[in-house]
């Protein structure tokens, strides 16, 4: 198998490298910067980022829907949201540049990435909703059964 062409640009073509080695080091520097930012935030834990951006909506079906769609901003500390977004950014560059997903065909890319993303999101949604429900049951009701 002859290897196919490598694309040498990251950040949607804004940053172009001269050779594949340079691109690898560039991505490494980028990942390192993100990790350092994460570690600094993890140590300082700025108080302003420990309270959710919004409070939850009250009353009615539309309020419930709004709470679901805006849940990352209503129920999550902004700091944790930043951590998760940075993690996904790191995962993207590891997959796209270190695993050369950028150079694979669109079909292979979607087969791998979309399948995994869909199943993982579904699993997380179900388990976290269930976990929160059980927490509420423990907190607000009399529970005799320890499951």
């Amino acid at each position: 198998m002859g290897h196919h062409e490598h694309s040498l640009a990251i950040f949607r073509g804004r940053l172009k490298f001269k050779s594949i080695e340079q691109k690898i080091w560039g991505v490494f520097i980028f990942l390192s910067i993100i990790t350092i930012v994460e570690v600094i935030f993890g140590i300082i834990k700025p108080q302003s980022l420990m309270v959710p951006f919004m409070s939850s909506f009250e009353g009615g079906f539309m309020a419930t829907m709004a709470n679901i769609f805006l849940s990352p901003f209503i129920f999550m500390k902004p700091l944790n949201l930043i951590f998760i977004v940075l993690t996904i950014v790191k995962a993207y560059y590891i997959t796209w540049d270190f695993m050369h997903m950028r150079d694979e065909t669109k079909a292979l890319r979607r087969m791998v990435v979309w399948t995994a993303i869909f199943l993982i999101c579904y699993l997380i949604l179900i388990l976290l909703v269930e976990g929160d429900y059980i927490f509420e049951v423990y907190k607000n009701n009399y529970v005799k059964f320890d499951f």
Binding site: I24, W25, G42, I43, M99, E104, T105, I120
Partner: protein
């Protein structure tokens, strides 16, 4: 007429075999599918961790209190530094791996061997670091808390650790803590300035500290045993499920790193003896590289969900 001919021709192409719509070899594609399934396994574990955390969200340990150690910094709480070090080791070994893959594309045997060797070293350092972490991180926290040795009253006690030498096989006794519960209780009651901090978090996310009266009532009523550090049943810092998931998921990941190092060693020797040079393709390096990067990818998520969030 022309279009019909063109269609027939391309159909012959598609169904005649020998073309690769994904432009990836069989081995590489299967490695990708394995990675998808392994990613689902890991996300199953991490989602289960999330489930348990949401279930006991008011008693979940605070990572900064658990992972405070750094080599040669005794008694100085340094949360995050050690795991940041481990993360960099793994990212760096990913870089050497991708450089090995690239050198393989250019058919440079000695360069591939050198980068593979560096990758193996990086993986070994990571696994070793994890061993140190497992043995150290959950023990002796400092800060405003009081070490039990500083107030527990020494009493004569008959209990000793059950050892295999004086017993039956396959039976192990409970680990003896440095002070037993009665000693800690007596010491606690004798010192008026000691308070109990429970594992339950208040509205601000800090563990609740009881008043002196409530503390005395608590230790008399609910006190059972002394816990130093954490194991799979008990955890000094909060809900025991935290330690369960921590050891299981980092252990499963560590096992992946360990197998990755073994596979890398095999590939390294194949590179050195010139197997891929004769084959005129370094695709095996690329495949094992995919696995190695996947291990790094998983660590990125483990890092976030155990140490940061």
């Amino acid at each position: 007429m022309e279009t019909t001919v063109a269609t027939t021709a391309s159909q012959g192409d598609v169904w005649g075999g020998g073309n690769q719509p994904l432009r990836a070899s069989y081995g590489k594609m299967m490695m990708w599918f394995f990675i998808v399934s392994d990613a689902l396994t890991f996300s199953g574990f991490l989602a289960a961790y999330g489930f348990s955390r949401f279930k006991f969200v008011d008693a979940w340990p605070i990572a900064d209190e658990v992972f405070t150690h750094f080599p040669f910094l005794h008694g100085v709480p340094a949360p995050m530094f050690y795991v940041a070090f481990m993360t960099f080791i793994l990212i760096f070994s990913s870089v050497t791996m991708v450089l090995a893959v690239d050198a393989g594309h250019k058919m440079k045997q000695s360069k591939v061997a050198m980068y593979m060797f560096l990758t193996i070293i990086g993986g070994a350092v990571f696994v070793g670091s994890q061993a140190w972490e497992w043995a150290t991180q959950f023990l002796d926290t400092e800060g405003n808390r009081v070490a039990i040795g500083s107030f527990a009253e020494s009493m004569h006690s008959e209990a000793t650790e059950h050892e295999p030498s004086n017993g039956i096989w396959f039976m192990s006794g409970n680990d003896q803590t440095s002070y037993n519960f009665e000693e800690v209780k007596a010491g606690f009651l004798a010192n008026d300035n000691l308070l109990i901090r429970t594992q339950y978090l208040d509205e601000n996310g800090h563990p609740t500290v009881l008043s002196r009266e409530a503390s005395i009532a608590k230790i008399k009523k609910d006190g059972k045993l002394v816990v130093e550090g954490a194991n799979l049943k008990r955890n000094e810092y909060g809900h025991p499920l935290f330690a369960d998931f921590f050891f299981f998921i980092t252990g499963f990941h560590g096992f992946h790193v360990f197998s990755g190092v073994l596979i890398n060693i095999i590939i390294f020797f194949n590179v050195v003896i010139g197997t891929y040079e004769r084959r005129k393709s370094y695709e095996m390096v690329e495949k094992v590289g995919l696995y190695w990067h996947f291990v790094d990818l998983v660590w990125v998520f483990v890092f976030t969900f155990f140490y940061l969030v």
